[in-house]
């Protein structure tokens, strides 16, 4: 895990934090994107979830942002924290300086302020890449489940842990140039289903989905995705592996 940087409070006094938030409301024709600064007093254990809610409750009820689980598992609250994509809910202010800049994730449609429409993007990608088990066999629900090696199940879960937060897309160089690039989130899903013995699709089928520059061949191996993934998914190795498999498939 990432070692945490702790900012001390030498005099024991709580710090005054300045949060500079990129504000814009597309629903308001008069709105122009601008940075707005809010000052708050830091509290013990304060996360950006706590800080933003405090600002909204006490200073500016119009501020828009998205939180759901506030425990780092649902992927709702990804934003740029000092320019770096991350989950706001589990970012502790004590790991940041006194000036904190928050901006919405790029690439995704802006709803307002820090809120972006990742859901629409992810659903579109799921439909395009058909991210579900393809298997025409009817399951007999009364019968024993099909057996699976314990290690296989764990390996699938390793990739299944993606929370579709969008950090990898925000940190991706290719997406800046290719709007339809499926990104690490899309490629990881293909890797996940490719690994799953219950999915009957072959590499030929997967090649149809990602065997082009909007898919695995579009990746420039900058691996910003890998660096910012809050779940530490093995994106670098998975993309490299998938590219090799798809290249082999392409040469057939």
């Amino acid at each position: 895990m990432i070692p945490l940087l702790r900012h001390g409070k030498p005099d024991g006094q709580p710090r005054r934090l300045t949060l500079e938030i990129l504000r814009h409301n597309p629903a308001d024709p008069a709105s122009v994107p601008h940075l707005q600064a809010y000052e708050i007093e830091e509290a013990e254990g304060m996360t950006l979830f706590i800080a933003l809610n405090e600002i909204r409750a006490q200073q500016d009820p119009s501020l828009m942002f998205d939180f759901v689980c506030r425990a780092g598992i649902c992927g709702s609250c990804a934003m740029l924290v000092n320019g770096r994509p991350g989950l706001a809910c589990r970012t502790l202010t004590r790991d940041l300086g006194e000036r904190i800049t928050l901006a919405p994730l790029p690439v995704f449609e802006l709803i307002g302020d820090l809120s972006v429409n990742t859901g629409k993007w992810m659903r579109g990608t799921s439909e395009r890449l058909q991210t579900w088990i393809h298997n025409d066999t009817e399951t007999d629900l009364d019968a024993f489940e099909t057996r699976m090696e314990p290690a296989t199940a764990e390996a699938i879960y390793e990739l299944d842990r993606c929370i579709e937060c969008g950090c990898c897309i925000a940190g991706c160089g290719t997406v800046q140039m290719r709007e339809r690039f499926v990104g690490a989130v899309g490629l990881n899903k293909i890797a996940r289903f490719r690994l799953d013995p219950r999915d009957t699709r072959s590499d030929e089928d997967f090649y149809e989905l990602i065997g082009d520059d909007d898919g695995v061949f579009g990746c420039m191996s900058l691996v910003g995705c890998h660096d910012v993934c809050p779940k530490q998914l093995p994106l670098q190795t998975q993309i490299a592996f998938l590219r090799r498999k798809m290249a082999l498939q392409g040469m057939r």
Binding site: M1, N25, P26, A27, D28, E44, G45, T47, R56, A57, Q58, P61, S62, M64, D66, V68, C69, R70, A71, G72, I73, C74, G75, S76, R90, L92, I111, N117, G119, K120, M122, R123, S126, E127, Q130, T131, W132, I133, T139, L141, D142, A143, F144, E145, T146, R147, M148, E149, P150, T152, A153, E154, I156, Y157, D160, R161, I163, E164, D196, R198
Partner: protein, 659 residues
């Protein structure tokens, strides 16, 4: 106003709603799902430790079956649940797990051979049978006789939610995200869909449906200290209550989870204790065996939470700058186990507490976790009071859980009830009851009513601040309607909440941002949440006994003679200050398992006069059928298969059982 038509409208994109939508879609209906957030962000994803289903594949699960799961569930509920529903559930849970396996959930699997485990603070060697290798494994959870909780590390809900959500995408079921149902369209007899507010642009849309299913989850956010996601505000239950004809059942039955990290309230799974974790006090002493010699840390959640609070009150709490807490110790499980089976716990401890749970103890204290109460439905998920309205999952009081839910039974309930209720919805749509004649006048009246609700807030320039009122409500609920309750405090809570409700009508918005103004959204929801809070507090005040999670120091005994009944709260007149409470008796004469001692917790219940007679009857039936198989005996005691869709009626395959 834009109007959208569909056969089935599902409100809520968590596991229950998605699974019900799939069931209705597979029967040929057009289905549309509304969700506050992208479905994969639903609170279902937070279910960590696992899902109960009596597969009986493992060494410690051997001998498990529906009968054992049924008894555990009824005892867990403190005899407050509907036993027929419990039977439907335990029978269908293995099918649900297997279906999810076919949809891609990477359930952890049995590894044949010897393995080490920690049981009751002792290292033991378990030998998993060769024949079970590669089948779905299970871990121990609280209040269960067998290891029955199927899991995917500690991201079970996440894996289930993604698999089911992907199935709905495969089926092409549209999900309208960031949409909030703000009122049901109804005429007092039949539901015709909902008026819905777009949380992006603030516009209202009418969704007209032959069948409407509410699957909006629980209402934990009426409490200050809760493990619930911020979207769990109970609005689905509130709009059902506001019809005036649909009751909410057992709203006073609120679960507190023993191990929420302190003070943030984020859950760490019961799997920690299931896998061998211990609770310790300020002295490092393992105190649960002192209170609960039988089940220790793995008694039911209501009992463990209560014992923890009592232990803190006895002066044995540890203390940090936020207050008192206890310790959850999983260090003995070792780093390897934690890295594979408790990875979310490890992450949460790392990010929110800055500790490594393989080396350090976790500060925990009970926090609100689950709403056993909700929209009262029958066994098919049909809401009382309005034809065409259904509910499932945590939003419903189906009533699987009674007054305490077992860990692992709610995430299981989501999919099982989704299967059963979704099929019932399809039955409804193909029956004459599913026909519909909606007058445009009614639609206009319903829409006008909603517009009036919102403009009453925006046009009011009163002194009140919705965020402050929300905080006040949450503090009252945690302080006075929490784990330990008393009549006087409950009366105070009801009074204070009704005052807050009046003040919530005097809100002055501080901003008028175009689009979906978050302050307006909060102010509108607050009024609904206050009604739910009053239902909880008033129901708790009136219930003069202790049962499951509802514990009153002034009435500490479970009183089956007077209180073996379910509370039904109606809000008939919008002007009434507290709901009208009605009670629905649970019939001992038809119970498969009449009330008794749970096997943990207090054993001083006041007996129901019919219990002895029913016990004798059951003994006679069992004696008569001594040579019959267990299914036949069960059927003689309390038949349930007539309540199931035909395709779910079959017996479940299980090691050591022939089918």
């Amino acid at each position: 106003m834009e109007t959208i038509h569909t056969d089935v409208l599902v409100i809520g994109g968590g596991l229950a709603g998605l699974r019900a939508a799939l069931a209705a879609r597979k029967r040929g209906n057009s289905v549309l799902i509304l969700s506050l957030v992208p479905p994969k962000r639903s609170h279902s994803a937070a279910a960590q430790g696992g899902m109960q289903a009596s597969l009986g594949n493992t060494a410690k699960g051997a001998g498990d079956n529906e009968d054992v799961h049924f008894e555990d569930t009824v005892r867990g509920s403190d005899w407050g649940n509907d036993q027929e529903v419990a039977r439907l559930f335990v029978h269908t849970a293995p099918k649900a797990v297997r279906e999810l396996a076919s949809w891609g959930v990477p359930w952890n699997r049995v590894q044949a051979g010897e393995r080490e485990a920690i049981i009751d603070n002792r290292r033991v060697t378990l030998s998993e049978p060769e024949a079970a290798h590669g089948l779905i494994t299970a871990r121990d959870f609280g209040g269960t006789k067998k290891w029955r909780t199927c899991y995917v590390s500690d991201g079970t809900g996440h894996a289930m939610l993604y698999a089911i959500s992907d199935q709905t995408i495969a089926e092409g079921i549209p999900v309208h995200e960031r949409m909030e149902a703000v009122s049901l369209i109804h005429d007092g007899l039949r539901c015709y869909g909902a008026i819905v507010r777009n949380l992006i642009d603030g516009k209202l849309v009418a969704y007209i449906a032959r069948a409407t299913c509410i699957a909006t989850g629980g209402f934990g956010r009426i409490y200050q200290s809760t493990t619930n996601a911020v979207i769990n505000e109970g609005i689905g239950a509130a709009i059902a209550l506001e019809t005036g004809v649909v009751p909410l059942g057992n709203m006073e039955a609120v679960q507190f989870h023993p191990t929420a990290i302190f003070p943030a309230g984020i859950l760490v799974t019961e799997g920690c204790r299931g896998d061998g974790g211990l609770l310790r006090d300020v002295d490092g002493h393992r105190f649960m065996p002192d209170y609960e010699p039988e089940k220790k840390e793995l008694a039911s959640r209501d009992v463990v939470s209560r014992r923890m609070e009592a232990h803190i009150r006895s002066g044995k709490g540890a203390r940090n700058r936020f207050g008192e807490h206890l310790w959850l110790d999983i260090t003995q499980l070792g780093a390897l186990h934690i890295d594979h089976k408790l990875r979310e716990v490890k992450e949460i401890c790392h990010y929110f507490l800055g500790i490594d749970p393989a080396r350090q103890w976790i500060p925990v204290r009970p926090a609100q976790h689950y709403s056993m109460g909700g929209i009262r439905t029958n066994a098919h998920g049909a809401a009382y009071g309005l034809s065409g309205l259904f509910a499932c999952g945590e939003a419903a009081c189906w009533d699987l859980h009674g007054f305490n839910r077992l860990g692992g039974n709610s995430v299981a309930e989501t999919v099982v009830s989704g299967m059963i209720v979704g099929d019932a919805i399809a039955d409804f749509c193909s029956s004459s009851g599913g026909d519909m004649h909606l007058s445009t006048a009614l639609l206009r009246e319903c829409a006008d009513k909603v517009r009036a609700e919102f403009s009453a807030i925006t046009d009011n320039h009163g002194p009140e601040n919705p965020a402050a009122l929300l905080g006040a409500m949450q503090a009252i609920m945690t302080d006075k309607v929490g784990i330990v309750r008393h009549g006087e405090q409950l009366a105070e809570a009801v009074r204070e909440l009704t005052e807050l409700e009046a003040r919530s009508r005097q809100i002055g918005l501080r901003n008028h941002r175009p689009g979906a103004n978050p302050e307006l959204t909060l102010a509108w929801r607050l009024q609904k949440m206050l009604k739910l809070a009053i239902c909880v507090a008033h129901g708790a005040r009136q219930r003069t006994e202790s049962r499951g999670a509802h514990f009153r120091t002034d009435f500490p005994r479970r009183n089956d003679a007077e209180w073996l009944k379910r509370t039904l709260a109606y809000w008939t007149d919008p002007a009434q200050l507290v709901p009208s409470l009605h009670y629905e008796a649970l019939d001992v004469r038809h119970m498969e398992l009449p009330p008794g001692w749970r096997g943990y917790g207090a054993r001083d219940a006041i007996e129901h006069p019919e219990t002895a007679h029913r016990m004798a009857q059951i003994e006679t039936i069992r004696a008569q059928l001594a040579t019959a198989d267990r299914h036949a005996v069960q059927d003689a005691l309390m038949p349930f298969r007539h309540l199931l869709p035909r395709h779910l009626c079959g017996d479940n395959a299980r090691p050591g059982e022939s089918t």
